[in-house]
Amino acid sequence: METFISALTIFVLAVFVGVFVIKRVPPLLHTPLMSGSNAISGITIVGAMISIATPSPVSTIFGFIAVVFATINVVGGFLVTHRMLGMFRKKE
């Protein structure tokens, strides 16, 4: 129960931080915001790596596919965001 409450505390506070930070992103950058948030939601890679490492073959297979999925998010998300942001130039 203790761990659950502290996890819940972190969750709720992080939602507030999220709302606060995201509201400051201008509509100009909403598409990079979405691809960038996809990239950071690839943090599931961390959980997936631990699943790969467990002795059970079933979990290893699930973990393997999950790492592939999460890495697509991470690499695809950060790269495409970088590509887009590079297009936003000020008038020379």
Binding site: F4, A7, I10, F11, A14, V15, V17, G18, V21, I22, R24, P26, P27, L28, L29, H30, T31, P32, L33, M34, G36, S37, N38, A39, I40, S41, G42, I43, I45, V46, G47, A48, M49, S51, I52, A53, T54, P55, S59, G63, I65, A66, V67, V68, F69, T71, I72, N73, V74, V75, G76, G77, V80, H82, M84, L85, M87, F88, R89, K90
Partner: protein, 464 residues
């Protein structure tokens, strides 16, 4: 070691937040994105020190390495190949992969758990439901945007809502069963199967024009699924990041709904405007009042214009006219006019999409003005060029309370001295209603096909 790993996770989470803060301005955005990417690298390196991962020996590290290599290649190919017009499809797919990863992680954790506690079980059920809905919903959204198997238009069938409600109840029932009897994995996968069907059925009634909302909402779900997976594993990095992404998606869906003056429920149920259709017909609106014009005439008008605003719609992107429009803007500026772009929030097919498309065509970002910023200024504008947009400049939104778009915020281009609408014909937009702007005294219609029409105009301005 565990506390070191957790401190590294905390550092990664802080770097993610800094990355999002960086997105508050284009000047700091690139650095923000790089910071967030380094945070991810840090989190991955920290996990390589995890007790389980260390214990898995060379085989574990090999498998992790191969999986990351495969994912990195697929992700990089996607990211470098994707056309900017197809960005909604890319984001839809990424949302889906995020949801899928959460389903698998929770499944693996349940499989390995010896004496699963209540938190693990409830969080596993939540990961399974939200993750599967996200995965399948995103695949349907991708398909609809791409218009492969399913048409872009909403799909309705009898008792649709009732079926969805039943599926949701079954999924909840299976969750309770899973909590009461966690001995078998089958319950979990049954739950995932039901949620998968629900994900498909929830997305098919959403129309192509509403996809920006659906994609933003699925973005939020993918974050929530990740946070749920964080509760399964008691992993703060997942919980924090998942809630950041969840918040982001929800805020973006709200902004999109507000820009269309529709409720989220209305969009999700696939209902188009509920207003009556007894407004003026196209014939009544347009008869004898529409004035057609030529590139030469527009060139003369633009020649004396000091301030020009271009209002792009998705039609501009479809005909790939961005670069021709940019050329026109540069040309007018070289003649001493001020040229800006007025961007409606739903001008593209996802939040902020039109800005990316114009930035790709080298339009400087300080020329891209939000609706709220440009609206009070139309009174001082000499010429507005509306290119491939219709409903977002329809004054009926302000004047006719029974119209399907009543109350939708519009770009008030009618306040400018003259308005030129470039369009193929007088055909209606998504809302299916005539646009009295086209018949207004200060409005001229320039009929033509997107890119070619803009190019003809560029030639005329050069000649003049």
């Amino acid at each position: 070691m565990l506390s070191l790993i957790n401190i590294l996770y905390l550092a990664a989470a802080v770097m993610f937040i800094q990355g999002l803060v960086g997105l508050s301005h284009p000047r700091t955005a690139v650095r923000g994105n790089v910071t967030a990417a380094l945070g991810m690298l840090l989190a991955v390196v920290a996990t390589l020190l995890d007790r389980n991962v260390l214990g898995s020996g060379v085989r574990g590290y090999m498998l992790i390495g191969v999986a990351i290599a495969v994912g990195a290649i697929i992700g990089a190919v996607f990211a470098l190949r994707i056309k900017m017009t197809a960005m909604p499809q890319m984001v839809a797919l990424l949302n889906g992969f995020g949801g899928g990863a959460s389903v698998l992680i929770a499944g693996a954790a349940l499989h390995d758990a010896v004496n699963p506690n209540l938190q693990l079980l409830i969080a596993t059920a939540a990961s399974g439901i939200i993750g599967a809905v996200t995965f399948w919903g995103s695949l349907v959204a991708f398909d609809k945007l791409q218009e492969w198997l399913l048409p872009g238009k909403p799909i309705h069938f009898p008792l649709q809502q009732a079926l969805n409600a039943v599926l949701a109840l079954v999924a909840l029932g299976l969750s309770v069963w899973l909590v009461l009897d966690p001995s078998s994995d089958t319950t979990y996968w049954l739950l995932v199967a039901v949620a998968s069907l629900l994900g498909v059925l929830l997305t098919i009634p959403i129309g192509g024009a509403d996809m920006p909302v659906a994609v933003a909402l699925l973005n939020s779900y993918s974050g929530l699924a990740g946070a749920a997976a964080g509760f399964v594993l008691n992993n703060n990095a997942l919980i924090i990041t998942g809630s950041l992404v969840g918040a982001s998606g929800i805020i973006l869906s709200q902004i999109m709904c507000k820009a269309m003056n529709r409720s989220l429920a209305n969009v999700l149920l696939g209902k188009l405007g509920s207003g009556s259709s007894d407004g003026a017909s196209a014939d009544e609106t347009y008869a004898g009042k529409v004035k057609s014009t030529s590139p030469e005439e527009i060139a003369m008008l633009l020649d004396t214009a000091r301030r020009v605003v271009i209002v792009p719609g998705y039609g501009l992107a479809v005909s790939q006219a961005q670069h021709a429009v940019r050329e026109l803007a540069t040309l007018l500026e070289s003649k001493g006019a001020t040229v800006e772009f007025g961007i409606h929030p739903v001008a593209g097919r996802m939040p902020g999409h039109m800005n990316v498309l114009l930035a790709e065509a080298d339009v400087p970002y300080d020329k891209l003005k939000e609706m709220d910023e440009i609206n009070p200024q139309f009174g001082q504008v000499d010429v507005v060029l509306v290119i491939g947009a219709n409903d977002v400049v329809n004054p009926l939104a302000n004047t006719d309370p029974s119209s399907p778009i009543a109350g939708m915020p519009i770009l008030e281009v009618g306040n400018a001295r003259s308005v030129i609408v470039m369009k193929r014909s007088l055909s209606p937009g998504f809302a299916g209603i005539p646009n009295p702007l086209f018949a207004a005294d200060n409005c001229l219609m320039y009929f033509g096909d997107g890119k070619a029409a803009v190019q003809a105009l560029v030639a005329a301005v050069k000649g003049g």
